[in-house]
């Protein structure tokens, strides 16, 4: 045992001890604080196939970083070489050390500083071969480090317009990480030179060093080199659990928990920590954010939001300033539920719910009219855009549909705007009122023109026995059933995917099918999952009018570039936002259909 001790290993040993103590402490604490149901999900999930799937996913994502390859191959290579390369260095190094180091028990650090403790480098076939493999792996990792340096200087080459602005702790850890492998190369080369190794990288470099500077100098130098290598390792390990690099050890349990169907929720809970600390601050979420691109707001993107929330310095300004458009969430390589985390961070800033909140919601607030199994909920925003209301009326009439109008003459909001503002409890009261209203009038189908309402009806209302449809789905159904006919004309249309309808509810095809029955459809570059936000999202409570307008301008510009005669969307709020800056006509899907109604 004593053979394997030298003072220089101390920084490394301390670093590793701190690292694993902190990680274990965090994991146990987060897990124990998880609500009962979450823990039950985990226990039930462990003996299932999901565990195997999670192991595979850990390999694909945490080591190979498959999803980052999709963002940009060079960026993917950088992450793979660092993560997978380092992993292989540890694994192969372990084999190498176990085969060649004498003694029964080989302590951990002897693997790490193998070249230093090896009695004679690369003796025998195993040694020569493994030594060369290790050199190759080191070169693989070093290429990743070089790319990381390069990325700092020229991020665009790696497909990123903007990179994350890092905090001090991250900078320390990052600097240490950059030095680890060059330091390892130098230290191993020095020792290899002294021990006359013949491996292609460290052996040759060592030989050159000895020949150039002399054995004496390299002997002295190697002591410092090993110290330096140990110190940077130690610094990195100590900084790791407190910096962005905690993501390495958080993504692994996160992948398992996600497979066991644990999710974040509109109220904050302990599982959120697993998601928050799994963020690697890669900054991939910055470029897609229109607040950054168009409105010049640069401190609220998901990477900064998660960072602030993690270090308990989240301000109301950052929590509130987000459109919850979901553009970042679809790109996050870790798959963090960014919208939900933003949402559940807002509750602590919201006003305390008063007991008599919305006591005025009695039967007096029932302004509904008509009787039918089919209900229509216009939604507040549709009431502000009466053309949509009239178009829906025309469509109902053409189809011969009797309709119960929930809110044509004024109604109660669906509750989603309140929920998005963090007033979750208050929102519940509104939702309960509307749900009772739907039940009281005995509808079995609920059509709405507003994707915001649609989403909350589907996700929070628990409307068992009532089918909830967006008007785009309903209209398509009427056409397919032959209940209405539309005439195909010569107009060209472009379609804007509303966030809450597309990314929010997964409805992309129905509006497109309806449009293509009426005219030709010209797509914008960024559509479907990548569609832009109109900027007026109710989820953003902090944005001002000028900023909203700039986002709308950029979108209107994109839409105009298609050259289409008419812009079609399927959300009254998007319609209003786009119309502010559009050079063509902007219509809701229902208006287009109503105008094309044939006999």
């Amino acid at each position: 045992m004593m053979n394997y001790y030298d003072h220089f290993i101390l920084p490394f040993a301390i670093g590793v001890t701190v690292l694993f103590t902190v990680i274990l402490y965090k994991w146990i604490r987060w897990f124990v604080r998880m609500p009962q149901e979450d823990r039950r999900l985990v226990l039930r999930g462990i003996p299932t196939r999901q565990t195997l799937g999670a192991i595979g996913e850990v390999f694909m994502e945490s080591l190979l970083h498959r999803r980052i390859w999709r963002v940009n191959p060079l960026l993917g290579y950088m992450h793979t070489s660092l993560a997978f390369g380092w992993f292989l260095l540890i694994a192969v190094g372990w084999v190498e050390a176990s085969l060649q180091l004498p003694g029964e028990i080989i302590p951990l650090h002897a693997h790490v500083f193998f070249k230093f403790f090896a009695p004679e480098v690369d003796y025998g076939i195993t040694g020569g071969l493994l030594g060369n493999i290790m050199d190759l792996l080191l070169l693989f990792v070093l290429s990743g480090v070089a790319l990381a340096w390069f990325k700092r200087m020229r991020s665009k080459a790696l497909g990123m317009q903007r990179t994350t602005k890092h905090v001090l702790g991250d900078r320390i850890a990052l600097a240490a990480l950059w030095f680890i492998f060059p330091a390892r190369l130098v230290a191993e080369s020095a020792t290899s030179g002294l021990k006359h190794s013949t491996t292609f990288l460290t052996g040759n470099l060592g030989e050159w060093m000895v020949n150039t500077f002399g054995t004496e100098a390299i002997m002295h130098f190697s002591v410092y080199a090993w110290w330096f290598y140990s110190i940077v390792l130690g610094i990195f390990f100590v900084a790791m659990p407190f910096s962005r690099y905690m993501h390495i050890f958080t993504e692994i349990p996160l992948i398992f928990l996600r497979r066991y169907k644990v999710h974040s929720y509109e109220k904050a809970k302990s599982f959120d920590r697993f998601q928050i600390e799994a963020c690697s601050r890669c900054g991939i979420c910055i470029d897609p954010c229109q607040l950054q691109k168009d409105a010049g707001i640069t401190n609220v993107q998901s990477v900064y939001f998660l960072r602030d929330r993690r270090y308990n310095r989240l301000t109301q300004e950052v929590a509130y300033n987000c459109l919850m458009c979901g553009r970042c969430e679809t790109r996050c390589p870790v798959g963090i539920e960014l919208n939900t985390l933003r949402l559940n961070s807002r509750e602590k800033f919201a006003a305390m719910p008063a007991d008599n909140r919305y006591a005025y919601l009695s039967s007096a607030a029932d302004r509904s009219s008509g009787t039918s199994k089919v209900g229509y909920f216009a939604g507040c925003m549709t009431l502000l855009t009466p053309k949509i209301l009239r178009a829906m009326d025309a469509i109902f009439k053409a189809a011969g549909e009797e309709v119960w109008y929930a809110d044509k003459d004024g109604g109660v909001c669906c509750g989603r705007p309140l929920k998005l503002s963090g007033e979750v409890e208050a929102a519940r009261r509104i939702m309960d009122f509307n749900r009772d209203l739907f039940r009281k009038h005995g509808i079995t189908t609920l059509v709405t023109s507003c994707p915001i309402c649609l989403k909350v009806f589907r996700e929070d209302y628990h409307l068992k026995g009532i089918e909830v449809l967006h008007h785009s789905q309903y209209i398509l159904r009427l056409i397919q059933q032959g209940r209405i006919c539309v005439e195909h004309g010569h107009n060209s249309f472009t379609y804007h995917d509303p966030c809450e309808l597309g990314r929010g509810s997964g409805i992309y095809e129905e509006p497109r099918e309806v449009i293509s029955q009426i005219g030709s459809l010209l797509e914008v570059d960024e559509n479907r999952e990548n569609a832009l936000c109109c900027g007026s999202s109710l989820a953003n409570i902090a944005i001002n009018d000028a900023q909203q307008n700039r986002i709308s301008q950029a979108l209107a510009h994109e839409l105009a570039d298609t050259g289409a005669d008419t812009v079609v969307t399927a959300c009254p709020l998007c319609k209003k936002a786009i119309a502010r800056n559009a050079s063509q006509e902007v219509k809701d899907l229902s208006e287009v259909v109503a105008e094309a109604l044939g006999q």
């Binding site: 006003a351 502000l384 007026s536 944005i543 001002n544 009018d545 000028a546």
Partner: protein, 110 residues
């Protein structure tokens, strides 16, 4: 008397020297755009909550700006944050932000 659908507000005096303007000033500092309000009343006219209650958004935020805080918190709590007012405001004021801010600042004035 013939009813034309109009009525006249009761005259009332607000003594700006007596009122504690601290909170009002803080609100205007946080959301300076509120100073651009022209009191047109569009917000109140479209208001979802105003259609089923006596809640009058313009009146409440105007009174708060004048240092009249009493009852403002309860009134603002009637708002459903639906956002119609923001879309109809000719000055582009972030009215939902105003509601939340007033509630935050006046929470203890219940």
């Amino acid at each position: 008397m013939v009813q034309f659908g109009y009525n006249i507000s009761q005259p009332r005096a607000i003594n700006m020297d007596k009122n504690d303007m601290m909170i009002s000033q803080k609100i205007l500092r946080t959301m300076p755009e509120l100073q651009t309000c022209i009191a047109c009343g569009s917000c109140t006219a479209t208001c979802t909550a105003g259609a089923i209650t006596s809640f009058n958004f313009r009146k409440v935020h105007t009174l708060v700006r004048r240092g009249e805080y009493k009852g403002a918190y309860e009134e603002m709590n009637k708002c459903m944050l639906c956002g119609k007012c923001r879309l109809s405001c000719p000055r582009g004021i972030n009215t939902r932000g105003v509601v939340m801010l007033i509630k935050q600042e006046l929470g203890e004035y219940r």
